[in-house]
């Protein structure tokens, strides 16, 4: 095995420290026995008990997870289909349509979705804004990200594989199920995780599209900033990080290959 030079190790460690140290500090300070949370005072689980008694914060966390899971699942399915379609049919308009929500400023997307919901859903379907409107909005902006990732992975692929599958008598569905899908799976997974993360921490679009009584963690935490953030926010972030990490570990157990690069 070839040894990596020292500078590479240093660079890698610095990069990882830069990425993970802030998170580590957030976790550490969730156990800090001080409302101020300015310096380390002592160990306590007080903020976690506070958190589990805070119905508002818990409802917000539950909403956030529900929205993130539903929106990322739906966006992954739709985005994958869009990615495949763009690859197959070289229509100029398709990529533009799929990618526009990614490029559009969030405020614009948020306000236009709110106007749209109010102009179309309320008078015609009698639907008031609520949790559903946030989910629909999140699906809208997540689709673009999944599409891009899936399409890029398809671009790098050798077309002859698909032709070979068909030569050997596979139906289009079999070709997709047995050849195409396993090949693009890492991209689909990456898209799904990206949508999950984007949905979980979106503020602007959620702010505009959330109906009365529907709060999410970013909305909840943001409204607390005015009165100084307590370590309870660290606690809820820690729980969320643990959940996300757990999901990634679980996903990689179920399909270990999904997280390796395609190497195609």
């Amino acid at each position: 095995m070839r040894r990596n030079p020292l500078w590479l190790w240093v660079a890698a460690l610095t990069a990882y420290a830069f990425l993970y140290l802030p998170l580590l500090i957030v976790v550490l300070y969730s156990f800090n026995d001080s409302r101020l949370n300015a310096e380390w005072v002592g160990f306590t689980l007080h903020w976690y008990s506070e958190l589990f008694n805070d119905t508002g914060m818990l409802a917000a966390a539950r909403n956030s997870l529900l929205i993130a899971v539903t929106a990322s699942l739906a966006a992954t399915v739709l985005g994958t289909l869009a990615g495949l379609a763009i690859h197959r049919y070289k229509l100029r308009i398709l990529p533009v349509l799929a990618v526009t929500p990614v490029a559009m400023p969030e405020v614009l997307l948020g306000v236009s979705l709110l106007l749209f919901f109010n102009l179309v859903f309320r008078p015609w379907l009698g639907l008031e804004l609520g949790l559903w409107s946030v989910i629909v909005a999140h699906i809208t902006f997540c689709i673009g990200f999944v599409t891009i990732v899936v399409r890029v992975s398809l671009l790098g692929m050798d077309e002859s594989i698909f032709e070979a599958a068909r030569d050997l008598g596979a139906t289009p569905w079999q070709t997709f199920r047995l050849v195409t899908f396993p090949l693009i799976l890492p991209a689909v997974m990456a898209g799904a995780l990206m949508s999950f993360a984007l949905s979980l921490d979106d503020f602007v679009i959620t702010f505009f599209t959330a109906g009365v009584g529907v709060s999410t963690l970013p909305l909840e935490i943001y409204s607390m900033i005015k009165i100084a953030v307590t370590p309870e926010v660290n606690a809820v972030s820690t729980v969320l990080m643990a959940l996300t990490l757990g999901m990634i570990v679980l996903a990689s157990r179920i399909h270990g290959k999904a997280f390796k690069s395609t190497g195609a």
């Binding site: 310096e39 005072v41 709110l114 109906g211 009365v212 009584g213 005015k226 009165i227």
Partner: protein, 351 residues
Amino acid sequence: MRFLALLLLELSSALHAADVLHLYNWNNYISDATVARFEASCKCKLVQDYYSDNEEMLAKLAAGASGYDLIVPTGNAVESLIKSKQLRPLDKSQLPNLKNIDPAYLDTAFDPGSRYSVPYAYTITLIGYNEQKLRELGIPTDTWAAIFEPKYLKKLKGRVTVLDSQRELMAAALKYLGYSANDTDEAHWRRARDLIIRAKPYWAAFNASSYIKELTVGNIWLAHGYSSDMFQARQDARQAGRPFTIAYSTPKEGAVLALDSMVLHKSGPRPDLAHRFIDFMLEGQNSAELTNLIGSGNPNREAMRYIDPAIAANQAVFPTPDIQRRLEMLKDLDRAQRRVLSRMWTEIKVR
């Protein structure tokens, strides 16, 4: 599947909610005990959504958000809601407790005749300081001079923050110069600007969000900010066992008072519950609980006897009549004035 079930549950619970009052409020702006008592008395549920800024709330409503029964905007924001015809006039026959409000807070410039709004609580923009440090350095704490005069600032270099707000900082400077906070004379504004520019090199920062922490940690000794934030800082410093105390006072030249009021939004489906809530909050004890929680000023005369004596005696929260006369609510500026102010603000910031 679990998620789908949860989703359905969520949707159906929203449909079945019969007696629900939706309050669009600031975070931590009502005590849990008050909420519990209201829910018990009306056999309904109070659901709150939060905003952290008036503009944020106005933007959401302007884009067409609906379903909020009650909102708690600050002075000017009430005026813009009235102008855009988004509010429902109050039915005062349903508000017998309205008599508890000090008339000084009724019939305001933003809502003449108090047709739409009922005062909820107020904050004063004042100075908070490290008591021991300022005494040690011999700096007066009852005047805006502390944040504007170089002879004092010399001793406080890098230990002072002011609000990062055009209107608030200009108002403080105008007050110190003896003008009204709502003065719109450009010559007076220029004097205020020069005063600010002269003091700026001594300030550590324009800070609107983290001065509570900076004060309690001891990095900052003097801060321009809101009375409820200073209350928080004082409590935090005490709880953390700091070797110093945070105090705050309303400068004798006068200051800005921001009054938050309860208003009914037209889109709210339950004006009946909203009126009940307003009348409930006008009861002395319920109103006092908010003051005891966050140290806000209280326009309710009946509340005084329920208020924690330490807060009731605090002249920064409940100013003497003499200072009270010098408190002013900010009025909206017109477009031309806003432009002039923005230009001056840029001049201040780039110096």
